[in-house]
Every structure is written in C-alpha cells, then in structure tokens.
Symmetry: C2
C-alpha cells in the first residue's frame, strides 16, 4: 500500500518533469546576486508568486537586507519546514561560462545556470515534490512552512533576527535543509551539520593617493606590501592558523563522529580530477585523515586580493590602498564573534593597527543528532528512492544559517537535494544532472509522505 503510494508519487514526478524544469528556468532567469544587490527584489516576488500559484499563503517579509519569502500551507498536527534561499553567488568571471549564467540551458544530461545547484534547483525540488504528493493524495498530509531567504550567499546577515522575531510563527517539528544530493557514484548524501563561517575584508590605506613607483618605492609605505605582510602573519605554509587562541574553543570529533567518518567512501581521486589538482595539502592522499581534515579543521582562506594595477602589461604605480577577502570556516564550538576579536588583537599585536577589519557576516557551526527519528525517516526515504542507504556525514565543510534552526527553533535538520560534487557551485558553469533533479524531487516527496504518515 505504502509502496504503491510511493510508486504513484514517483510516476507523477516523472510525468511532470518538464513543468518543473520550466519553473527552474523562470527562477534562473532572475539573477538575484546578493553580493551585488542585483535582482534580489524581483526574485523574491517571483518566488512568492510561485508559492501562491501552488496554493500556499506566501508573503515577502522585509528585513534590513534582502526580504525573506515566508509561505505556509497544509493542515494537521505536525509541521515540516523547508529552508531555502533564492539568492545566488556572483557569476563572475563571466567569460568562463559556456552559456549565459542567467539563462537555464540543457546540454546533454546536464542543466546549466547560476543557481541550478545552489539553490534554485532545491526550491523547485521542494515545490515539485509537494505538487506531486498533492496530486496523488488530493491534499498535503501535514502542515508545511517555507523560509526562503535572500542573503545566504552573503552570510544570512538578517536571518537569525528574523527567526528570533518570528519564533512562534515558525514553530515546526523538523526541517529539510536547502541542500543535498548525491556523491560522484550516485549514492545519496546525508549531512548532519555545517561548519560555521566568519567572513571579513581586511583593508589598508597608506596614503591619500597612489604614487609613481619610481618616486616612492624606497621611502613611501605601500598598501599592498602592508597587506601581504599582515596576511602572512595569519597562516603559515603548513596551514597552521597563527592567530593566538584560534584553536582554543574547538571540540574535537567524538567517537561516533570518527565511526561515521570511517564509514565514508573515499572520493579523493574524483576530487583531484574535478579540480585538476596534483595533490592535497600536507601530503594527505585520502582516507579518514583527509575526511577529518576536510571538515573538522577550521580554515583561513584568502577568497580575493585587490591592489593597484591589475590590467594588462605594466603600470608603475605604488598603491595607496589594498584589500583582501578572508573566509574562516569554523568547527564546533568556535563562534564568528570570537574570531573577529582574536583577529583584531592579533593584528594589533603584530603591528598592523593600520589593517582595518570589515566584518561581512558569519554563521555559527551546528549539528543534528545522527540518531534522531527524523534523521532515520529521511535516510529511509533516501534508501527507497536511490536504492541504497545514504552516506552519512557527521559534519560538512560548507556553512549556512543552520544554528538558529537547531538551537532557536529546536528542530532536527536533514539534507535532501539535487546537487553532486561536480556541480561547480560558486564557480562558472554551475549545473545539475537531470537524473539527480528527478531523484531529489522524489526523495523530498517521500520524506513529506512519510512525515505525514508518521504523525
């Protein structure tokens, strides 16, 4: 009986896939780059109207930054929440895209476009799954709530405040996160926690204007040199972060974490191939050592450097200003606030009082208990759809605003999605695979159907 229901849901999804792709095309066509405030409001309106068209009560809720699209629908005692985001990363460098980033393009079995994997494809997967479940059951088997924000790619700056303010309204029993998908070999992935992030811009100004390098080179301070010297004090060539106290609050992986890490397959070769890498850092080649380093170690990544002349050929200029974007990934129990404080102290102690820290946003790390019943339900639904049990990651390297969902709203959070490790998220030619989209929709639909049943 249940199997028959699931089969009918799956068939409904397959029958309607062109419709669901047309929804994705509509979403990709509205840029919504939060970092550049490009298309944000039009995209929020589009998402709300898509929810309304599907019969949900949706509203565009203003915040101090990008608006949050909130939606609700369904009836019953139990409530399932979907957290997603409609904003995307900048598409630059534009010239590396084979087809335009904001025009969904299918080539072979792949669907290209900024946001296809992160995160518009997931918005569509949730709407499509709910659509299919309703087609089969006639109505939703539970209440649903949507929180679809527009600042995930710039650190979800105003989401925590939105959640605190609407704590009662947002009450739910469980949450399906904005991401997920399969590994290189098609095995579904379950992610039980996210690293935190602290993203800063370090900038230095040494003069009122740029100088001719021939005039000032020996006697003027140079902003680019100041920046290089300051950055050099943050991390050594062995990847050790040199900010005093940076590692103090870290909770090392538990025995259960190590058990889950040991059970993970080794994707090292695929990763090397995808990124054209000769080797990993510090001579790591794979196995538990690499997997532990990948997620249970905090990072200090230079995401960008800017100073002086960057065009073709020669310009003999001594730059008055220089800046770097630096991204720290945090592991339990580090906090973005403590990193900014320790960084300031460190720069001052090293003589870099002239290096200004612009705090661009952060997220706390947070995790869901691997033995929570909703985690088991989600994993079982994955097993049905993908024909194999999901790979369970106790923590993953990327970040997101999961902390307020787990610790303010008090919900378990599971992953379920349409992406894969080759999707080139945040890079040119971001894409998803059609088969992954279909399975991601089915997985979402099975979770909804089981969640309603289990109430």
């Amino acid at each position: 009986m249940v199997d028959d229901l699931m089969t009918r849901i799956d068939q409904t999804i397959e029958r309607n896939i062109e419709t669901y792709l047309s929804w994705l095309a509509k979403l990709v066509a509205v840029p919504s780059v939060a970092a550049q405030d490009f298309g944000i409001k039009p995209c929020a309106s589009l998402v709300a109207s898509m929810l309304n068209e599907q019969g949900y009560q949706a509203e565009v809720v203003p915040t101090e930054g990008s608006p949050v699209v909130y939606g609700e629908g369904g009836t019953g005692d139990r409530t399932l929440m979907f957290y997603n985001h409609y904003d995307v990363q900048p598409a630059e460098p534009m010239e590396l895209w084979v087809t335009p980033p904001f025009e969904m393009t299918q080539r072979g079995d792949k669907i290209y476009g900024r946001g296809t994997a992160d995160d518009k494809g997931h918005i569509v997967a949730r709407l499509a799954a709910l659509h299919a479940v309703r087609q089969v059951l006639g109505e939703l088997p539970c209440r649903v709530r949507f929180v679809i924000e527009g600042e995930e790619e710039i650190g979800s700056v105003h989401l925590s405040a939105f959640i605190e303010k609407n704590k009662e309204k947002l009450a739910a029993d469980a949450c399906v996160w904005e991401s997920g998908g399969v590994d290189y070999d098609g095995t579904p992935l379950q992610y039980l926690g996210l690293r935190g992030i602290c993203y800063v811009e370090l900038s230095v100004q040494t003069a009122a204007l740029d100088a001719h390098s021939g005039l000032g080179g020996s006697i003027f301070p140079n902003a680019a040199w100041r920046l290089v010297w300051a950055l050099h004090t943050l991390k050594d060539q062995n990847e050790k972060i040199l900010i005093p106290g940076f590692y103090d609050t870290i909770q090392p992986p538990s025995a259960r974490d190590r058990e889950l890490l040991a059970a993970l397959p080794d994707n090292a070769d695929n990763v090397l191939k995808t990124y054209g890498l000769k080797s990993f850092l510090k001579g790591m080649t794979g196995g538990v050592e690499l997997r532990r380093a990948e997620v249970f170690e905090p990072t200090c990544t230079i995401c960008g450097l800017t100073a002086g002349y960057q065009g073709d050929g020669i310009k003999t200029v001594l730059p008055a200003e220089a800046s770097a974007k630096v991204d720290f990934r945090l592991v339990p129990n580090q906090t973005p606030q403590e990193v900014v404080e320790k960084l300031r102290k460190h720069l001052d102690a090293q003589g870099f009082q002239d290096v200004v820290i612009n705090d661009l946003g952060g997220d706390h790390p947070a995790r869901t208990d691997p033995d929570h019943p909703f985690v088991r339900l989600s994993n079982e639904a994955a097993r049905q759809v993908y024909g194999k049990a999901p790979i369970i990651h106790p923590l993953i390297g990327v970040s997101g605003p999961i902390h307020p969902f787990i610790h303010v709203l008090g919900m378990p959070v599971t992953m379920c999605g349409v992406s894969y490790p080759g999707a080139q998220v945040h890079a040119p030619n971001e894409h998803i695979v059609l088969e992954h989209l279909i399975k991601g929709i089915k997985h979402t639909a099975h979770i909804i159907a089981e969640f309603g049943e289990s109430g």
Copy 2:
C-alpha cells in the same frame, strides 16, 4: 645681443602660447595607452603629421611593438637630439578624474589630462621651442633629430634594438631628455641619471578551476596564499630585499654624488603633504639620508595584486589563480637581467617553483657626468629662464631608456621640462601648471639657441 635674442625668443613663445596649447589638446585627445594597446597607432600618426607640419622630415618606423616616430631637420655641424614618448599610462581608476582624462581641460592655472606632464606636454615643449627659435632666427641654428617612442610606459621594450639598428642615423652630439621641470618652489631641476627598472608579473595557478571555499579550504592549495607566501620572501618589513645577491653589484654613491645630494633642498614636508603621508619609511624625516634612500637604494614595489573575488560583499571562493605586478628599481650597476635570474633562483630555493615569472620589460640604470659642457650649457639656460640656478640631482628615482643614449650613442643627456612634483603623473588628475609650460618651452628654446651658438 644674445640677451636681446633670448628676449625675442621668450616674447615669441608668450605670443604663441594659445597655439602651443592647441597642439597639446590635440595630442591629449588621442589616448595612446601602451599597456592596453589603446590608440597607439593613431597617436604615432598624429605626432608624425605634427612634425611634418612644422617642416621636419618625419616617419613612423615600425618595431615589433609600438612604432617609433623619427624626425629630423635643420642644418649645421652639430646635432641636438630630442628623446620623447607619445604613449601614456592607463587612466584607471577612471572615476577619480574630475574631468575626462583624454580631454585637455584648463581649470585655473592648471592644465589637466593624461599625458600633460608625462610626456605629451614635453613633445609640445620641444616643438614650440623650435618653432619660436625659427621665428626669431629665420632658421634653426643646428641639426635636430627626434626619437619619439610609444612604449616608454611599458618598459621601452623595443627601443634599444631600434637604437642599435639605427646607430649611424641617430648620431648626435647631445640629447635633451623627455622629462624635467621645476620643484615645488619653482626652482628648475637638472637630473643627471635614471634608476633602472625590472618589471615582472608573478603568477601562480594551483588548480584547473576555482573551488567553493567551504569544500576546499582545509585540503586544497590556494593560489592567493601561495602568492602571499612567495611575496613575503622577497622583502621584509624593514624594506630589506631578501633575494640572495640582490645588492652585490651595487656601486654606492660617490663623494661627488654625496656633495650634490647634500646641496639639494629638503622637500620632505611637501612630499608628505602631497601624498597625505604621516611619515616616510624607516623613520626617515628628510635630509641627505632620505634623499640618498630615495634614489641610491633599489626597490621592490608591489604595483598590483589580483586574486579571486574582488567585488562588493561576499564570495566564498578558493582561487585557482593569483598574480602580482612587481617593480624593481635598480641603481648602478644592477641590470634587469641579473634581477630576473636571481629572483628565479630565490623562488626555486624557497620552494616556489610554482610561481611563474613573466618578464614585462626593463631598463638599465645610467648617468651623465655632472661636469660635461652640455650639462653646463643646459644649466646656464635654466638660470636665464628661471632666474636661478637649477637644483642638480645626480640620480633620480624613476626609470627610462637612457642607457642606450648614454652608452650606445655616447651622448650626454640633460633634462628640461614642464612638470613639477605635484603633477600626479601616473595617477588620476595628471596636470601641468601653465607657467611651468611656458618656462619649459623657453628653457628648451634657450638650450637650442645656445647649442647652435656654441658649435
């Protein structure tokens, strides 16, 4: 009699200044940015046609890079050469210009536009001076040759070869250099030598594509970090260049150099004010110590840094590529070739075999004897025009292709010009002062008249 001649030349210059300004406006209006190959050929044609209009035999001589405009005219046993360049620095950052860079604009006593000071104003000064001398004398008192190149701002890449190839044709007795002018208080400046330059781009690629910083931060190499670490090995915070052997070939300033340095006025406060600096490097405040450091020390200047995301806000990217533009200023007897070789060895020894050096061009340092008769002639002409003896610099910080003129063509080279230290050369809002233009033309004209007389 001579005084009367000079007075008539000066009056002719004053009477024709609007005509000369119209020549400058025409030159500024044709961009000619060598680094971007923007407008180079149209500007070379314009310069040649301006020479032809003034009665010189001019030709546009192709090289492997920008063409050289060569011109000649006049008669007599003695030949005076004018070296200039029609190319200019890039105008970026455009938004900092008060009026468009390629549109000559007079505001108050200042004339703004890219190239007004460096070096189109000087081309006009030479043509205007010759025009006035001919108006007064009826003909030129000597032979003249023009070498007006189009790659000075990118290291005069093909000029040495042009000079070697045309050594006989270019024979002359003395050369007036492309630059010069007055100090902050209007005192004329005599520059007797230029530092050399070695300009390189250092680049590193660590992967085939950028990665999400959350995925790769702990385990992928990062091109921006590699670049920062590599740059850090080049110079310490005390401005000491750490490349082994870098200082080995340096000839320290002579007793005569120190005498000339000691006679220089102290412009330290003006320099601090112009650039909005709190202080000079290494606690220097002025005097001979600062002047010696300014020109007799070689430099390693970061002119530009580029990596990853440089737009507004956040992009969580781990860059696969990063690069820096680095400018070494060389003192006698360093050579650009030895610097590139020592830099390569150093980077290899430090473990930075992955950092690629792109050699973008160089000039050798070179100097003229302060006691050469043509230097005295030029200085005496300055005294006549400016009412005071010039300040004599044994060496200046900037670079240019002076080496082949002094060491291949065997000529003394003196400076004479229309610029001043506040001209913002190479920076936004480059300009000259009208009074400086008039005096620079007069000084050039007096040199020509005296040079003809002295033959």
